[in-house]
Symmetry: C2
Subunit: 418 residues, 2 copies
């Protein structure tokens, strides 16, 4: 069969499986998730063997240590994945929730009921854990899923997905509810992006290039974020100790992720009191600071930032720092250079905290807390399928609820329209 | 300036106006809406004169009576539009609503707050009332709007929009919050569909051809429905009198709209008792019935339906009728031929009512009520900006809430991630 034919068959089968899934009870879905978790642990040896094939390929192709690290399915990675499935099983089922119900003057009773979206397409890069995490969240929210992972992880991904499929089949759930596209050719992605009649939404996860390719070529709606250029603004009234702890945490704790700090904005009135010791602390943690001219006036040894620095998502131990005159200039800087992802203010001033929360147009806005909390688990959604920085359907970290929509159900007793 | 340049300028101005709009108080927005309503009534003569130009063109171009009727701004149409603005002013403001708020184990307080989407693009055909209705809903929900109406209504549309802009300017709201694209060239639409950095969502309203063109050519997310092939299933246990009243209402009361009945499904056990008198009543109302072979067995004088009839949105006094063996066959027929818009069951059987509500995958599902209630006003949303039959962001009639999204606000006191 042609690649296009294979992908079309997968999508049709997914659509048909999604009907069965949408009516599964929470009990049945949870039982499957628990069995999947057990089976992953039982099959650790098999998964490791398949993962070895990918690792051998990665070594041959000279992948970076970081990439190989992301690709590796160690025993502890497999345990973490298996535990993740148990956590998803323990979350409340969003499907069937009646979010509102009201009575009309003519006695019609109108309700809004949560239903699955249908078929979710996930396009992602090296990490094989995404295969299982995404499959678990889609199953719990009653959606069929079509997974398309990177070629470097294909053996690991197929091993995980076939194991999950076998468990589903034993439990009486159609195995087409979770399908991995076995073809790593780019043509498979191109075909997937055309199938608007079968796939309800595409969630790309990976680097900016992958995501831009998907957005530009997809007829299926896409939920995505390109990058996270996260800002912290230190207001004139900030508690300096708190500011330092939060900034270090946001920049250093895990610099390679989208909610890490990339640009620090500092109120001009505290520059000389705050910045020298702050930059010293950052440099102790091996952070390279790139400052605006006003930063260089007080800390002359740092690099000067170029205009492109303000747009950059470093994903590394680099931080751009800019002095601003006031809250307005901070907000304007974020509006111009930001990515609508996550921004925080450190302040003791009530009015400024409220203005920052209201006026900064990002999906997550924090007062006196680290940007690293911009994450589905940390915010209390229980899990995360991705992050959206566009406003349609979802804005910010997405959990199970964001994999559903609401339909109208109407209870009448003979009403007609006059 | 080139057409592309004009559209780009409009979009940029809209984006910048949307910032001001998102922070307007409900009081300020309502005051503007009330002033707009008054001004429409004050300027009835001016609006009529501009509308005359469009009507003259329509007559020259030989438009149908129905089209000319839709295009006409009579005094009573203008009164209805003006009243619509007052109704929108009276609706609750969705912006700023805290839909949920919770505390995390580390004492972070996380809230979800409704915010406007930003800039809405509306692409529509002849009716000039859409210009004002859509502008009012977008203003109330804090969104800037870019309107692109049909060439046949351009004078009426520009008259309405410039009048609304003048009111806004007097009230201190940027006039760029509501902009009509003055160019009726198709190139203006093409350019609009590319401006993903400035326009947050496009809502096309009109015929299926227009909507398909928009979906296929847009890089901006689109919320839409192609058509409404609405079904009513008369279950074996239905109250026949109720069924007849509801079916007549759904088919005849306003056949040219998307929530009108197009296909009737009848349980086989009631065919001979129910169908002959039902079809008689329909024919009394000048409805042409097209039946499946089993319909023709009991009412031989009706036309036979072809396969394409089951897909058809007639928007006219035509009804296709099919006999089905049971609820399952009814649901399967709807799944295969339906448009995910609106379906109803007439039944006295509890289990069948629940199964129909759960298993029919349409945006509005009713028991014992007319499909004509599938409308934002009738369902109690207070207003309607459009209907979505795809599940992302909104499913079914959309009111003010559907013109908003939620961002996360987080109140901390120094929390860092460990």
């Amino acid at each position: 069969m042609s690649i296009e034919g294979q992908v079309l068959k997968i999508a049709r089968d997914a659509k048909s499986a999604s009907k069965a899934l949408s009516n599964l009870s929470s009990k049945a879905k949870n039982a499957v998730l628990i069995k999947m978790s057990e089976e992953l642990l039982n099959q650790t040896d098999y998964l490791s063997r398949e993962n070895e094939k990918d690792l051998a390929g990665a070594n041959q192709n000279g992948l970076s240590d970081a990439s190989i690290d992301r690709l590796t399915l160690s025993d502890s990675t497999i345990r973490t994945i298996a535990e993740g499935l148990l956590e998803v099983a323990a979350l409340p089922d969003p499907v069937g929730e009646v979010t509102k119900m009201w009575k009309r003057p003519n006695n019609l009773v109108v309700g809004r009921v949560r239903i699955p979206l249908g078929v979710i397409g996930i396009i992602y890069e090296s990490r094989p854990n995404v295969t299982c995490d995404a499959a678990g969240l889609c199953l719990k929210s009653g959606n069929a899923v079509i997974l398309r992972g990177g070629s470097e992880a294909i053996n690991s991904n197929l091993a995980i997905s076939s194991l999950l499929q076998d468990v589903m089949e034993k439990e009486g759930v159609p195995r087409e509810a979770i399908q991995m596209i076995p073809v790593t050719d780019r043509a498979a992605v191109n075909e997937m992006l055309k199938l608007e009649d079968y796939i309800d939404v595409i969630i790309p996860r990976g680097g900016e290039d992958l995501i831009r390719f998907v957005v530009q070529n997809s007829r299926v709606p896409v939920i995505k974020h390109y990058k996270g250029v996260c800002h912290i603004f230190v207001d004139e009234s900030a508690d300096f100790d708190m500011a330092k702890e939060i900034i270090l945490n946001a920049k250093v704790q895990r610099p390679g992720v989208c909610n890490a700090l990339e640009t620090l904005l500092v109120h001009r009135d505290i520059v000389s009191r705050f910045l020298p010791s702050m930059i010293e602390k950052l440099e102790e943690e091996a952070v390279e600071v790139r400052g605006c001219p006003r930063v260089l006036q007080v800390v002359p040894n740092v690099k000067e930032a170029k205009d492109e620095d303000w747009y950059d998502e470093y994903l590394a131990l680099i931080l751009s720092v800019k002095v601003v005159n006031d809250l307005d200039e901070a907000i304007n800087h974020i509006t111009k250079y930001g990515s609508s992802h996550t921004e925080a203010i450190i302040t003791s001033n009530y009015e400024n905290s409220q203005r920052f929360l209201n006026e900064v147009d990002s999906s997550v806005v924090l007062v006196n807390a680290s940007t690293r909390f911009s994450d589905g688990n940390e915010l209390g959604l229980g899990a995360e399928i991705g992050i959206s920085t566009t406003k349609l359907h979802a804005f910010g970290p997405m959990g199970l609820e964001e994999l559903t929509t609401c339909k109208f159900v109407v209870y009448g007793n003979g009403q007609i329209r006059s």
